[in-house]
C-alpha cells in the first residue's frame, strides 16, 4: 500500500478549453495534499494547443500532458487505457475526476480496470486519522449523505461540479509541464461519427435562471419566461413536466434526472417543487417562487414566494425590471 503516493487530478477539456471542474478539483486537492504532506499533480489528455500551464497556475506541481489529436473526441475506452497506464506507472494514492457526464462515464472503467473502488459524485472529501480519504456523497435521491472509505489503492472519486471554489490563479507559480507518451491510440470497437453543438442552451453556467413548470399551459407561453430572462440576463429552464409535454428540450431541464444548477438567482414560475426538481436547484443563491397553490413545496425552500397566477406576475416583473 505504501508504494502509492500523491494526489492526481484528471483534468478535463472540452474542445480545447480546460473545464472549470479541473480548477475546483485542484483547490480541494491542494488542501488534501497539504494535509497528507504529498504532491498534487495533474494528468491532462488533450490535443496540441491546450494551455496546460494553466493547471500549474492553479496549483498543480507537475502537469503531465498526454498530447494527441485523438483526445479531441471523447471516447471512454481510449481515455481509460491511457489513464490506467499512467496510474499504474505513477501510483498515486488518490485520483480525483470531475463528475461531469464524461467523467462519470470514464471513471468507472478506470476504477474497474484497476480493480479498485470508486465513489460517485462526492460533495466533500476529508482525510481521516490514518491518512485515508473520506469520501462524502449524497445518495437516495439526495436524502442522505454517506461517508465512504476505499480499502484499496488508488482511492478514486468523482466530484460534483460547482461543489468547491476554483483554485485561484497565480502566475508566479512554476510552469512545469511534462509531455508523456500515449499508451493507446484508438478504440477500434467504437467510432465517433460527429459531434453537434447543443446550441445556446447551457443552463449549468447561468447566474440567473427563470424556470417554468406545470403552470405553463402551452409551448408559446415559454416566451413569457424568455422575456423575463432577457431583462435580467438570465436563461430559461424547465421542470421535467415540460420536457415530457414536448414543450422544451431535456438540455433545459433542471432536476434529479436533468441538470443540477446553482445560479445566484432562481425564479421558479408555476413549479410546484417535487423532490426531483428540488434536488436540481435547492442550492441556488436566492430562490423566488410564483405558484397559484399556497401549499406547493417550492415555497418551503423559497426566499420569496408569491401565491398567484404566473401569467399576471411574470409580465409585471418583466415590465418592472425592463425599466432599470
Amino acid at each position: 500500500m505504501s508504494a502509492y503516493k500523491g494526489i492526481l487530478i484528471i483534468a478535463e477539456q472540452y474542445l480545447g478549453e480546460i473545464h472549470k471542474v479541473s480548477y475546483e478539483l485542484l483547490n480541494k486537492g491542494k488542501q488534501l495534499a497539504e494535509e497528507l504532506g504529498v504532491s498534487l499533480n495533474c494528468l491532462l489528455l488533450a490535443p496540441e494547443g491546450v494551455d496546460s500551464a494553466q493547471l500549474n497556475y492553479r496549483g498543480a506541481e507537475t502537469v503531465y500532458h498526454m498530447k494527441s489529436d485523438v483526445f479531441s473526441l471523447p471516447e471512454e475506452v481510449l481515455f481509460k487505457e491511457n489513464i490506467v497506464g499512467f496510474i499504474n506507472e505513477k501510483k498515486p494514492e488518490v485520483v480525483l475526476i470531475g463528475a461531469t457526464n464524461f467523467g462519470r462515464s470514464v471513471a468507472p472503467r478506470v476504477a474497474a480496470a484497476l480493480k479498485t473502488g470508486l465513489t460517485a459524485d462526492c460533495t466533500d472529501l476529508t482525510i481521516d486519522e490514518e491518512g485515508r480519504l473520506v469520501q462524502i456523497r449524497p445518495a437516495f435521491s439526495d436524502n442522505l449523505f454517506a461517508h465512504i472509505k476505499t480499502i484499496r489503492n488508488p482511492q478514486m472519486a468523482t466530484v460534483r461540479y460547482k461543489e468547491f471554489k476554483e483554485a485561484e490563479k497565480n502566475e508566479c507559480l512554476c510552469k512545469n509541464v511534462i509531455e508523456v507518451p500515449l499508451i493507446c491510440k484508438a478504440n477500434g470497437k467504437s467510432v465517433i461519427e460527429k459531434m453537434v453543438s447543443l446550441g445556446d442552451v447551457d443552463i449549468t453556467e447561468a447566474q440567473v435562471i427563470v424556470a417554468g413548470g406545470r403552470g405553463i399551459k402551452k409551448k408559446e407561453d415559454i416566451e413569457l419566461l424568455e422575456g423575463l430572462a432577457q431583462v435580467i440576463g438570465g436563461r430559461v429552464a424547465v421542470s421535467r413536466a415540460l420536457v415530457d409535454a414536448g414543450m422544451a428540450s431535456s438540455a433545459q431541464q433542471v432536476g434529479y434526472s436533468g441538470n443540477r444548477v446553482k445560479p445566484k438567482v432562481y425564479i421558479a414560475c408555476g413549479i410546484s417543487g417535487a423532490p426531483q426538481h428540488l434536488a436540481g436547484m435547492k442550492e441556488s443563491g436566492l430562490i423566488i417562487a410564483v405558484n397559484s397553490d399556497p401549499s406547493a413545496p417550492i415555497f418551503k425552500i423559497a426566499d420569496y414566494g408569491f401565491v398567484g397566477d404566473l401569467y399576471e406576475v411574470v409580465p409585471e416583473l418583466t415590465k418592472q425590471w425592463s425599466r432599470g
Binding site: K80, G117, Q207
Partner: protein, 266 residues
C-alpha cells in the same frame, strides 16, 4: 438477437422514510419497485423487439429473493424472460463487486448482443455499475444514450445526449453496453393478461456456485469501498417570506433584493 436489460429493485422514493437520528433508511416504510430509470431501458429494448420472435429480451437483476417481483413486472411489460441473481454472499456489494458479479452472470448466460441499463438508480445513485460491467466484460459502452439510430447484426449506432457539451453520434461494435436516459422511450404500463401470466412464469435463478467467481470477490467481502457512516440531514426549511393577494409588495421586495445583488440596476 439477444438483448439483456440490467434492472434493479429500489424503494419507492416518494414514500421511503429516513431517520436522521439513527442515520438509517427505513426500508420497511416503502414497497420495493422497479427503478424508474430502468423502465426506460426496458422499454427501449421492447421498442427494438417490437413483437419480433427473433429478438429475445431478458431482464437480469441481482437482489434478494423478493426481487423476483421486479422481474415479473419486467415480464408483464413485455420482456421474454427474467433471471434472478441471488445469494446470501452477494449482500453488501458496492458497485465494483456488483459489476463483477453481474459480469460473471452475463458470461454464464452467454450470447448477448446488446446490454441496456438505466441512467442510474434512485437509491444508490452512482451511475457506475453499467460502465464497470462493460469494463469487466471488455465491451465498448456509451452513457447518456437518448436514441438508438440503427441496430444491425454486429453494430449499433447511438446518439449521446450530452458529452463534453456536445451531442455525439457514435457507432459501436456488438456486443456493447448502453446506459440510456429518460428521453429514449416512453414506458408503457403492463397489459392485464401479461400481468396475470407473469404470476405463473418460472424465473431462472443463479447463485454463487453457478458462477465462475469466488466468495472473496462478491458482496461485502469483494467490495473495495466501505460505508463508514450515514448522515441524514434534517429537512431543509427556509424562513422565506410568502406574499399573496396584491403583487405590488412582492415586486418591490424582490426588486430591492435583486438590485442589492447587482442583478438589476437600481
Amino acid at each position: 438477437m439477444n438483448i439483456l436489460v440490467l434492472i434493479k429493485e429500489v424503494p419507492d422514493m416518494e414514500k421511503v422514510r429516513f431517520d436522521s437520528d439513527s442515520g438509517r433508511v427505513d426500508r420497511s416504510s416503502a414497497a420495493a419497485e422497479l427503478n424508474p430509470f430502468d423502465e426506460n431501458a426496458l422499454q427501449a429494448a421492447l421498442d427494438i423487439k417490437d413483437g419480433r420472435d427473433d429478438i429475445v429480451v431478458t431482464a437480469l437483476t441481482m437482489g434478494p429473493l423478493g426481487a423476483a417481483k421486479s422481474l415479473k413486472d419486467a415480464y408483464a411489460r413485455g420482456a421474454d424472460q427474467g433471471v434472478l441473481l441471488t445469494d446470501r454472499n452477494f449482500g453488501g456489494a458496492d458497485t465494483y463487486a456488483t459489476a463483477e458479479t453481474l459480469a460473471a452472470a452475463i458470461v454464464k448466460l452467454g450470447g448477448y448482443d446488446l446490454i441496456l441499463c438505466g441512467e442510474k438508480s434512485v437509491d444508490g445513485d452512482t451511475a457506475q455499475v453499467g460502465a464497470e460491467v462493460a469494463e469487466v466484460l471488455n465491451l465498448p459502452h456509451a452513457y447518456y444514450v437518448e436514441e438508438i439510430l440503427q441496430l444491425t447484426e454486429n453494430k449499433v449506432q447511438v446518439v449521446i445526449e450530452n458529452l463534453c457539451g456536445q451531442k455525439q453520434y457514435r457507432t459501436m461494435e456488438l456486443p456493447a453496453l448502453l446506459s440510456v436516459t429518460k428521453n429514449i422511450s416512453r414506458p408503457k404500463l403492463p397489459v392485464l393478461d401479461r400481468k396475470l401470466e407473469s404470476l405463473e412464469i418460472e424465473l431462472q435463478t443463479l447463485s454463487l456456485r453457478d458462477l465462475d467467481i469466488s466468495e472473496a470477490e462478491v458482496g461485502l467481502r469483494g467490495s473495495p469501498t466501505k460505508v463508514s457512516k450515514i448522515v441524514i440531514p434534517e429537512e431543509a426549511k427556509k424562513e422565506g417570506s410568502l406574499y399573496r393577494g396584491d403583487s405590488k409588495e412582492f415586486i418591490i421586495v424582490v426588486s430591492e433584493e435583486l438590485s442589492n445583488r447587482g442583478i438589476i440596476a437600481r
